[in-house]
Symmetry: C2
Subunit: 207 residues, 2 copies
DNA sequence: AATAGTATTGACCGATACGGTTAATGGAGG
DNA sequence: CCTCCATTAACCGTATCGGTCAATACTATT
């Protein structure tokens, strides 16, 4: 990667990143043309090849950047410091929303890249991945105090259920292709409130 | 579409359908080559063009067939007869699983086709769609008796949440690309049991 | 075995799209 | 006017695309 890329004004950098995220998220690696990315970024194909030697380099750069940005945003919102379950879900959600606001296609790109099978890139992707996967969830679960929740509930199942629901909600927006972050936030918050009312012992006793 | 297609042995028909669902679900309409579909189906490209005049015809045929099969499978599992909420979710789930078992990529195809923007096909897709969308959910909600559920719960939110969770769970499998239907069934059933325990008044009173 | 009819394909066509290069253009600073 | 660098239009060889067609393989009938 040409270091001059970083000398670009931030908005132009973001435009290029987003163009890459978008095109690579809609099609396979092989079927995602550089010309389309350049056009979506508002620059010429030649200039894109000036910043990135070839398609593979751009792709892997996007992958690394994607991981970097994500971790940055997570720490920034204090996900790793939270102890309370709903609190950490809340800040995790906020991190995700900030991410999507800046890079609408980053989640879709991340998923597709992770499962990409093209031999030209798949090995490199998998190699750089090992670290990121979450032993996080397990730790979070251990810390939960079952006294806080309604009696007899399966906490692990509860956690998986909540995870799936947020993903399902997010997916609905992704499919639709319109990333209305405000509407998303509303939905997420409604979910959180709903869960608190249903799962927390204190809340239930008030009824 | 050449009527001789229906004269083919069922397994061959399914192979072609699945090949189409698969290729069109991985890439945009424009970037999904007929050659790839033919190869995935185990026939020559020429033969594929013998059954379907052109790419567009095949695509729309897949779309119609997709709708047809889905409705068939739904009625067969009696989704529309069920009155009880969890009962109808159960049979709906079973219909979906049977679908996926026979046509692993049909859900992904359906979603992509629905949001496809290529002017060559998008109009036809949207035109034939109007009917299918669910006024179903609304009706289901009206019939619910709030006495059956824990007090103070927002039934509409509960329904949305359950819908998202199943979609999120399904998505996890889709992304991974391995449609392990048995594992999926286990997950779905665990979700249903979990919900019954948490949401139903009778169940909660037993604790 | 010869024939007729059908299922299936390899080879081909013109057009286009691809990744990547290069020589030229444009503009800002001295 | 000159230098330097960002930026691009035009180009190159190749691969792939949708679609066709003439030829082959296969099956059933006589």
């Amino acid at each position: 990667m040409n270091p001059k890329f970083y000398a670009l004004p931030q908005e132009k950098q973001r435009a290029i990143l987003n163009a890459g995220f978008h095109v690579f998220s809609q099609n396979t690696y092989k079927k995602s043309p550089m010309s389309e990315i350049a056009e979506a970024a508002g620059i010429s194909k030649a200039l894109l090849f000036h910043y990135f030697q070839n398609k593979k380099e751009l792709y892997l750069f996007l992958w690394d950047t994607c991981a970097k940005i994500t971790v940055e945003e997570m720490t920034r919102s204090g996900v790793y410091e939270q102890t309370d379950l709903f609190g950490s879900m809340d800040s995790g959600m906020q991190a995700k929303l900030r991410l999507i606001r800046q890079y609408p296609d980053i989640s879709t790109f991340a998923v597709r890249a992770f499962y990409e099978k093209d031999p030209e890139v798949s090995a490199d992707i998998q190699k750089s991945m090992g670290q990121y996967l979450n032993a996080h969830a397990a730790k979070k679960l251990e810390k939960l105090d079952s006294e806080d929740f309604i009696p007899g509930i399966d906490l692990q199942m509860m956690y998986r259920e909540m995870y799936w629901a947020t993903e399902g909600c997010l997916w609905e927006y992704i499919q639709r292709g319109i990333m209305d972050v405000n509407a998303m936030e509303k939905d997420f918050r409604a979910l959180l409130d709903f869960w608190k009312k249903v799962y927390l012992r204190k809340e239930r006793e008030d009824l």
